[in-house]
């Protein structure tokens, strides 16, 4: 139950940030893949199956925000969630630099899968936003690593206070 509340809160916060960023600057939304960050964060915490399921769900939400086909972002995010959970079990990806590289690789792969599916289904190349979308792996990796670090720090402070 606690997990469900946390995940729901995470998704709602993501939708709020997504809508807010889109209102301020479209490029900002293209640079940071917020939904994938939620998937990666919980996959790292709960494992590959949870990550894959959450990826599928977040993909559906992402697809609902577009005039497209349900499942395209879903497949890409399912794979991201699974890989994030699987790799983070084997390797410690918590340090900032490792986290940066880890998220960078995951988002790059997701972008490739999503781009391939999009181009195949719509028979058209996807909008790169004058190349801005190619900054997405780095933008997401940097902001994600920073957010994850801050969350860990915050958790550390609160657990110390509890003691």
């Amino acid at each position: 139950m606690k997990n469900l509340i946390r995940v729901t809160a995470g998704i709602i916060i993501t939708i709020i940030i997504y809508t807010t960023l889109a209102k301020i600057s479209i490029s900002a939304v293209q640079i940071i893949n917020l939904f994938s960050l939620v998937v990666i964060y919980f996959a790292m915490e709960k494992g590959e199956v949870f990550g894959a399921c959450l990826g599928a769900f977040c993909g559906l939400i992402y697809d609902s925000f577009s005039l497209g086909v349900f499942g395209v972002a879903g497949i890409a995010k399912t794979l991201t969630g699974f890989l994030a959970g699987y790799v983070s079990k084997k390797i410690d990806v918590n340090p900032f630099i490792r986290s940066l590289i880890f998220i960078f690789i995951l988002i790059s792969s997701e972008l490739i899968v999503w781009g391939f599916l999009y181009s195949y289904i719509f028979s058209a190349s996807f909008n790169t936003g004058k190349g801005i979308v190619f900054l997405q792996p780095f933008g997401t990796a940097f902001s994600g690593s920073l957010i994850f670090l801050l969350i860990r720090k915050f958790k550390g402070v609160t657990s110390k206070h509890k003691k």
Partner: protein
């Protein structure tokens, strides 16, 4: 349970999820106009969240302007007063001109008809896959929104049309810059008819203009012709940006739409088929 079996179980879940989504994709492809119940359901669930965020933004902005940013509010008030002054002058001049052809009652009725059939809407969401494809507005079934209603920006330029899904208080607009959009248009000077479609990157392409057709002018305006049965005739869409005569059958003509993506905040949904009320 042995570790390899546990690993296999996880992979089975992954394959199952991907398989389910592939089925979901295959249900929707080939893409058609009619949206599925699933799409409608997801849209109805998540669009109110976007609606709520925009509402919160608006209220915060109003609160800030009303209680703190009084200097800014005064400045805006002055600007609006000035704008209104000129609009009233314009309105009077046009009314006086019209009175040569129509009685005052006829003019008032026609103007009332326009006012009653224009719905003010605000953009509350953008397309996640391609920003030049669609936007979501804060008007839906409860505001009598129906499919194919034309949508204009604050200056009266064409933005797109209503497509599904339409929920109680939200609906989606297909933008003229979407590759699947098709509008019957004509050019201002040469009055050549063509079909305008988006390029998915913020521009439009004027299609099916024969290489042997007369030349267009760069900067020539493009208006809706009304022949598509969706958009009323005479709405300004954009202007010709570049033209190229290729070795093929048709010319390659790029059109820059008038609406600006950054200005897509306040929109007008036209609820009548014919804007030519006089």
């Amino acid at each position: 349970m042995p570790s390899f079996l546990k690993k296999n179980k996880n992979i089975k879940v992954l394959i199952g999820l991907i398989f389910l989504q592939l089925i979901l994709i295959s249900i929707q492809v080939p893409l058609d106009e009619e949206e599925t119940y699933f799409e409608k359901l997801i849209f109805s669930v998540f669009s109110p969240v976007q609606h709520g965020v925009v509402y919160l933004f608006q209220k915060t902005g109003t609160f800030w302007k009303s209680y703190f940013d009084l200097k800014g509010a005064r400045k805006e008030n002055e600007r609006l007063k000035e704008e209104m002054f000129f609009l009233l002058q314009e309105n009077n001049i046009i009314r006086n001109l019209l009175q040569k052809y129509k009685s005052e009652n006829e003019i008032n009725d026609a103007l009332r008809n326009i006012q009653e059939n224009i719905l003010h809407a605000r953009v509350i969401g953008f397309d996640a896959s391609n920003f030049y494809k669609s936007v979501v507005i804060n008007k839906g079934f409860l505001d009598d929104i129906q499919k194919n209603m034309p949508v204009l920006d604050r200056y009266g330029n064409l933005v797109g049309r209503i497509v599904g899904p339409i929920s109680l208080k939200e609906s989606r607009i297909q933008l003229v810059t979407d590759i699947n959009c098709g509008i019957s248009v004509f050019s201002e000077k040469k009055e050549v008819l063509g079909v305008l479609a988006g390029d998915g990157k913020g521009m439009c392409i004027l299609k099916y203009i024969l290489s042997t057709d007369e030349d267009f002018f760069q900067g020539e305006r493009v208006y809706t012709s009304g022949f598509d049965g969706i958009f009323p005739p005479g709405i300004s869409v954009g202007e010709i940006l570049s033209l190229e005569t290729t070795s093929g059958l048709f010319k390659k003509i790029m059109v820059k739409p008038y609406f600006k993506f950054q200005d897509l905040d306040n929109l007008a949904v036209i609820k009548i088929k014919n804007l030519n009320v006089f």
